[in-house]
């Protein structure tokens, strides 16, 4: 049985140089957005989803674990951050920390439960857990049910950066995204990341070599969930609300789709996928439910003919890892 990313290439020093060049190019491109007249709100939203997809990719692309409930981290961090900002009137940096902490605790609990089963069961368990949280948030008073938490004050980050100014907010979100991205890149290329990949390729052998694979997978899950929470906390400042949409299973599905389109197990794929899917939603917003149909069709086409994704195909063509 082939694994999800059976044709990724081993990372060589040369490939790492390529990756750093690509990273600098991406950072420069994103940093120049406010000067180009591109609608910054769109890019900020895409950046939040890109970080979410990168966090998700850490789990599936490098750990071989398909989580179908990553929206629970996005939504939980969002709700907690929004609550901290609005009700407790905390400054933005502490609000983000509250959101991240909430996602961290949640990922400890859900990771402990879901890592007990493998493969397809793991996906079903994460989906069921996120649905459980969805119903809890639907009924919990602090989330305001169907209305969500609205009119969240953006405040001044570190008392200096006024987040109500779009350009300032844009750069704060961008820095957050790049920091998260680099952290994930670092994790992937660490000894921990290498063990994780070996578990993805052949868990039995990793066990026979003396690795406690469950602990590695658990740690990957917690890292992925916490980073997804970071994305959720950042998104609060962009959208200025926290609602049930962010916890719904369809959101989990969208994250999977973004990563699949960009390329599972590629470093830049989730970013490209997130921009592609968010752009598609923007342009097709007037078509109502046809957007769902198109998303479904992309799933089908990707799985049947395009399993490497955009970046995966490019990397394969140039025989590089990207």
């Amino acid at each position: 049985m082939t694994t999800l990313t059976d044709d990724t290439l081993p990372v060589t020093p040369r490939a790492m140089r390529d990756e750093m060049i690509a990273f600098v190019l991406m950072a420069l491109l994103l940093a120049s957005v406010p000067f180009t007249g591109v609608y910054p709100f769109f890019v900020m939203q895409a950046l939040c989803f890109a970080l979410l997809a990168c966090a998700f990719n850490l789990l599936i692309g490098y750990g071989g674990l398909l989580s179908f409930g990553h929206a629970m981290f996005l939504g939980t961090a969002g709700y907690c951050c929004a609550h901290a900002l609005k009700v407790w009137a905390l400054p933005p940096e502490l609000g983000i920390l509250v959101g991240i902490a909430a996602a961290f605790v949640l990922s400890l609990i859900t990771g402990y439960i879901s890592i007990r089963r493998q493969g397809i069961y793991f996906s079903m368990i994460t989906l069921a857990l996120s649905q459980l949280l969805y119903f809890i948030y639907l009924q919990a008073p602090f989330t305001h049910g169907e209305d969500g938490i609205q009119g969240i004050p953006q405040g001044r980050m570190f008392g200096v950066f006024d987040l109500s100014k779009p350009t300032v907010l844009y750069y704060v979100v961008l820095v957050g995204f790049l920091a998260g991205f680099l952290l994930i890149y670092r994790i992937i290329n660490s000894p921990f990341g290498e063990v994780l990949k070996s578990i993805r390729e052949n868990e039995q052998r990793a066990i026979s070599l003396g690795y406690r694979t469950d602990q590695y997978k658990f740690l990957a899950f917690v890292l992925s969930g916490t980073l997804a929470g970071f994305a959720g906390a950042l998104k609060v400042f962009v959208a200025q609300n926290a609602s049930l949409t962010d916890v719904h299973w369809s959101m989990s599905g969208e994250v999977v789709l973004m990563t699949l389109v960009g390329g599972l197990g590629t470093i830049f794929g989730p970013v490209v996928g997130a921009f592609a899917i968010i752009a598609m939603q923007q342009y097709l917003a007037g078509f109502g439910q046809w957007v769902t149909v198109i998303q479904g069709s992309i799933f089908v086409v990707c799985v049947l003919t395009f399993r490497r994704g955009v970046i995966g195909e490019i990397a394969h063509y140039f025989r590089r890892s990207l």
Binding site: I120, S123, V300
Partner: protein
């Protein structure tokens, strides 16, 4: 006490749907190694086919009970021939992703034409009204759903566990290459199995049409509960799926009576508890 019995009955009905759906998932998983995310969408299609048969063709409930599963089953077999069969040998997860995409397409198309509101489907004349059992009032249609689902479940169990065809099927689940070597057309059997599993989902859809209205998203949330049921029961045993399905329906019904706030979540909470106590699920076959 009346309210308790009424909730128990609702629980049994939901349990019937859980059993029919998780049974289909288990049969499909056994042969195709795919978790059929489209199961909820195909359940919804079953209800819609029954609705169209009645409103457009004047074909009544009893025929719909037969025709809808066949139509949806054929649709499923086309899906299997055109798409799912290409996933043989790939990671399980691609099957989940592909069928998730199919579910989005099917649900999206129906939502476009029918919105999110429900369409009514009348209870057939023969099953209207109710009986007084002394301790409770039993609406005949609801009693019928429970009894009929139970019969279908047991018939499926019999087909798979006790007949020659079922023996081929079980053998092909264990070792498809060897079974092919005996001259049995395994690919065709896989297609038929998918049709059977999907047909069971469609049948559940027809049964539910007069109770819950016919809605494009009627299967979307249901399938997630059924996934939890499958995690609890495991997919290793047909009888296990049936019993777990009904049992969880009843527990959900009891929760509606004693602590209604938790009725949406009780199945998921039970799943968590089962995973903590017995990670392999109740029927105990590790994944």
């Amino acid at each position: 006490m009346q309210a308790l019995y009424a909730q128990l009955l609702v629980g049994l009905i939901n349990g019937s749907f859980y059993a029919l759906l998780s049974l289909g998932l288990a049969v499909i998983f056994g042969m195709l190694n795919i978790i059929n995310f489209a199961h909820g969408a195909l359940y919804m299609m079953g209800a819609f086919v029954a609705y169209f048969l009645l409103s457009l063709g004047g074909i009544n409930y009893w025929w719909a009970l037969l025709i809808a599963p066949v139509i949806v089953g054929i649709f499923g077999m086309i899906l299997e021939r055109t798409m799912l069969q290409w996933l043989t040998g790939l990671d399980h997860l691609y099957g989940l992703l592909l069928t998730f995409g199919i579910a989005l397409i099917v649900q999206g198309v129906f939502q476009n034409y029918f919105g999110s509101s429900g369409l009514p489907y009348a209870i057939p004349d023969q099953l209207k009204g109710g009986m007084n059992l002394g301790f409770m009032f039993l609406p005949i249609y609801r009693g019928w759903v429970v009894v009929f689902s139970l019969v279908v479940c047991l018939a499926t169990w019999f087909l798979i566990e006790k007949t020659q065809l079922g023996a081929y099927l079980r053998a092909a689940t264990e070792n498809p290459t060897l079974v092919r070597a005996f001259g049995i057309n395994v690919p065709r059997m896989i297609t038929l199995t998918y049709g059977l599993g999907v047909g069971l989902a469609a049948l559940a859809g027809v049964l539910s049409a007069p109770i819950n209205q016919v809605r494009p998203l009627m299967g979307a949330d249901l399938i997630i509960v059924v996934f939890a049921v499958v995690v609890i029961g495991g997919m290793g045993s047909i009888m296990g799926s049936i019993i777990t399905g009904f049992a969880l329906g009843v527990i959900e019904g009891l929760t509606k009576y004693f602590y209604p706030e938790a009725s949406n979540t009780v199945v998921f909470v039970l799943m968590v508890l089962v995973l903590l106590v017995k990670p392999t699920g109740l029927t105990g076959r590790a994944a």
